[in-house]
Symmetry: C2
Subunit: 415 residues, 2 copies
C-alpha cells in the first residue's frame, strides 16, 4: 500500500480564519489513484514545526504533499525550509522567471525583487511548472524513496498542478494498486434503524471491505471501501454484489449512488424527461437557484427564478395577492402556494419550487418562530405545500429549507 500524508501550512488555518479545502481535494486525487491518505496535518508558518512534520510524514508514508507558504512575502517560509531539509542551494529557474514576468505584464504589474524570488528553487528539486500562478510547485525525492511535493496554497493553482503535474508523475513513479469506494444513498430510515435493519448483511461483509455510515439531514450514506486492491475491477464487482444484496433488504430506501444529492437527482430526472423548472424564493434567497445552476447542464431545464424577498416583489413580480400577505402573513401556506404558481406562470416552467420563512436571527414570533419555513411545489396538475421547522441558525435554516424544498419536488417527480 502506498501511503500519503498531506500537510497544509498556514497560521490562517490554525486560528480558524479559513477552511482548508486544499487537503480535501488532494485527498480525493490521491485516493482515486490508489494512494491511501493516512493523515492530514495542518501546521503554522514555523520552520521548526515544518521540519518536524515533514520528518514524521516521511517516516510514515511514501508520498508527502505540502501546500502553502510559497508566496513572495516574508511570512512564507516553506521553500527555504525545504531547501534546508534537503541540504540544497537555490538557483533561479529561467523558465519560471520568464513566466512570472509575462504573467505580471499581462496584469499590468511591475516585476520586482519579490517576484524574482518566486523563480528561485532548490537545486535538488524538479520544478512543477505552475501555468496559472507565480509560485512553482516542487518535487523532491528522499534517500529512502519517498516523494515530497510542495504546492502553492491558492486552491485554483494547486488544483491544476495536482491534475497536470503531480498525478501523472506519481502514477509513473509508483506501481499503484486500486482504492475502490462506492456510496449508496438511503432515505427514510434514521441511522440507528438502518443499522439494525442491515445488521446481518453488515456482519457478513468480507473482512477487506469497510462499511461507513455518513448521516446527513434526511439521508444516510453507506460507503463500502476496499483499499489497496491488486484487482480493482474484481473489488468493484464484489462491492456491487454487496450493494445488490442490500437492495433486496431495503428496496424502498435507496435514492441514489456516489456523490448524488437531491438536486442532482432532480437534475437527472428533469433532463431525462425534458421538463423545466423555476424557483420562487423568499427566505432561501437564491440558494435553491444556486444549487441547480452550480451543476453543468442546468440550462437544459432551469428557466430561472425570482428571489422575492420584499413583499412588494412577491406581489408585483409573482402576483401574490397582497391581502393574503396581510391576512396570513408572508410566511404562510397560501403565500408559498401563490409564489410557486406565480413563478410557474411568468416563466412558463413545468415545475416550480417556492419557499417563504423566517431565517432569523430576528423576525420570529411565538406562533411562527425563527426557522419556520413554508415550501410549495407547483406541477402541471397541482400544487403541494408543507411547513418544516428548519433549525435555529440562519445559515442552517437556509440550507435545510433548500434541501427540504428540493426533496418535496423530488417526491412529486417520483410520484
Amino acid at each position: 500500500m502506498i501511503k500519503a500524508t498531506i500537510i497544509t501550512i498556514g497560521d490562517e488555518i490554525l486560528i480558524g480564519q479559513i477552511v482548508d479545502t486544499n487537503s480535501t481535494s488532494i485527498a480525493k486525487h490521491l485516493n482515486t489513484a490508489g494512494i491511501t491518505v493516512v493523515e492530514k496535518l495542518s501546521i503554522g508558518d514555523q520552520a521548526e514545526q515544518i521540519e518536524q512534520s515533514i520528518a514524521r510524514a516521511v517516516a510514515q508514508s511514501q508520498v508527502v504533499i505540502i501546500t502553502g507558504g510559497l508566496g513572495p512575502t516574508k511570512d512564507d517560509i516553506t521553500k527555504h525550509t525545504l531547501a534546508r531539509i534537503f541540504n540544497s542551494r537555490m538557483h533561479e529557474d529561467e523558465r519560471v522567471c520568464n513566466h512570472v514576468h509575462a504573467l505580471l505584464e499581462r496584469r499590468g504589474i511591475t516585476f520586482n525583487d519579490l517576484n524574482r524570488s518566486q523563480a528561485m528553487v532548490p537545486d535538488c528539486c524538479t520544478v512543477l511548472f505552475n501555468a496559472y500562478g507565480t509560485a512553482p510547485g516542487m518535487w523532491f525525492e528522499t534517500e529512502n524513496g519517498a516523494v515530497v511535493i510542495s504546492l502553492p496554497g491558492v486552491p485554483f493553482e494547486m488544483e491544476h498542478l495536482m491534475e497536470d503535474e503531480v498525478m501523472p508523475r506519481l502514477k509513473a513513479h509508483f506501481s499503484l494498486h486500486a482504492n475502490v469506494h462506492r456510496t449508496m444513498i438511503t432515505a427514510g430510515l434514521p441511522e440507528s434503524m438502518l443499522a439494525e435493519r442491515i445488521e446481518q448483511w453488515e456482519d457478513a461483509l468480507p473482512k477487506w471491505m469497510k462499511l461507513a455510515y455518513l448521516p446527513a439531514p434526511n439521508i444516510v450514506r453507506l460507503r463500502l471501501s476496499a483499499y489497496d486492491q491488486e484487482d480493482g475491477e474484481a473489488a468493484r464487482e464484489a462491492i456491487n454484489t454487496e450493494f445488490d444484496k442490500l437492495h433486496n433488504i431495503i428496496p424502498g430506501h435507496i435514492v441514489g449512488f456516489e456523490g448524488a444529492t437531491m438536486q442532482s437527482l432532480v437534475h437527472e430526472i428533469m433532463r431525462e424527461r425534458g421538463v423545466t423548472l423555476a424557483t420562487a424564493e423568499s427566505c432561501t434567497g437564491g440558494a435553491i437557484a444556486s444549487l441547480f445552476t452550480a451543476m453543468a447542464g442546468a440550462s437544459a431545464y432551469f428557466m430561472g427564478g425570482v428571489v422575492a424577498y420584499a413583499n412588494k416583489v412577491k406581489r408585483d413580480v409573482l402576483g401574490v395577492n397582497y391581502d393574503d400577505i396581510m391576512t396570513h402573513g408572508a410566511v404562510s401556506e397560501t403565500v408559498a402556494r401563490q409564489m410557486a404558481e406565480g413563478v410557474r406562470r411568468i416563466t412558463g416552467a413545468d415545475y416550480a419550487i417556492a419557499t417563504t420563512g423566517i431565517a432569523g436571527p430576528t423576525g420570529g414570533s411565538e406562533a411562527k418562530p425563527v426557522g419556520t419555513v413554508w415550501m410549495a411545489v407547483a406541477t402541471p396538475t397541482h400544487t403541494v405545500a408543507v411547513m418544516r421547522n428548519s433549525g435555529l441558525d440562519r445559515g442552517q435554516i437556509i440550507s435545510r429549507a433548500s434541501a427540504y424544498a428540493i426533496e418535496l419536488l423530488y417526491k412529486e417527480l417520483k410520484g
Copy 2:
C-alpha cells in the same frame, strides 16, 4: 501559553469525501479565548492511530479536542478507544438515556439497542450534555493536567457543545492569556507591490507581532497577530497603532477590516444610506442574491431579484429586448445593461446588479470563451457595464463573477 491540538476522526475526511469544517470552527473558538492551536490533525477510524495521535497531542498541548466517531454504528470507535486509553469502565448515563429516548420519540423513531449504546459513557469522564443530538460530549483529564475533549462530528451539535459546554469549562479550568488578531483588507495593490510598498513598516514591527499576507481575488488581507498576551487590551492598542501607520502609507487602498467581504461592505453602506438593491442573474444563477441574503439584516435593503437563466425569462420577466438578444447574444453589454435596468424597474429598487456570461463547461466560442461575463450596475442616475473573464472552471467562474459584480456596485456606491 496554553496550546491545543485538534483531531478530527473519519475515513470520509482522508478519502476527500467531505471538507472538514469542524476543526475550523473549533480553532476559531479556542483562538478567540486565548488558546493557541498548534496543530490540526485528521485521521481514520482506526483504534491504534487514534491512540497514538491522542498520546502525541497530549505530549505537545494541554487541550486536545477530538471530533467524530461517536455515532451508534460499528464504524464509530472513538468512545471505546477513549475508555481504553483512560483505562475506564463504561456505564449508562441516565440523563443522556432519557434525553435520547425523548429526542427519538419526537421524531417518531423507535428506541433500540444502538440508541441505548449512545448513553454509555466511560466512568472517568464528565459528560457534556448534547441537547441537540444523541451522542454526548465527554471531558477527560490526564494525570499531568491536560484536558481531552471528545465531541460528535455533526457540525451543528459540535458547535452548540463548543459554545455551551466546552468554552465555559476551558475558561474556568485554565488561566488564559489573550490572542489578538486584527485583519485589514486592501484592494488595488497586488501582493508583491503591496509588500514592497510597506516593507519599512513591516521591518519595524515589534518582534511579538506577526504579519501575514492573505491574498484573494481582487484583495489582499493583512493580518497582525499577537499570541499569549497578558494584557490583551494593550496588544490590541499596539496593533491599532501599527494599522494607523499603515493607513498613512497606503491611504487609498484600505477597504475594510476583519472578516469584511465586498458584500458585507455593500450591506453596511446600503443599511446606512437606506437605499435598496435588486439582482438580475444569468450565469451566476442566484449566487449573488445568496451572498446578500446569507447576511442577517439583508431584508432592510435587499428587495429581491430574478434569476434569468432562459432568454424567455430575460424577455418576459425583465423586459430585455429579444432582438438585442438575437443580434448581440445573451452574453453582451446591452443585455447586461437591460437586465440591471429591468430588475430595477420591476422591483423598484434603487440599485441593481446584473450578470450574464458563459459558466461552461460548454457554450463557449472563440469570440466569447467560457468564463466571459458581462456585468452591469444600474443606479438611480446611470448604468455601468464591464466585461471580465472570470476563470476556467464553472464554480470558479460563478464565484469570481459574483465578486467582480459586487465590487462594481461597491465602486459605484463609493463614487
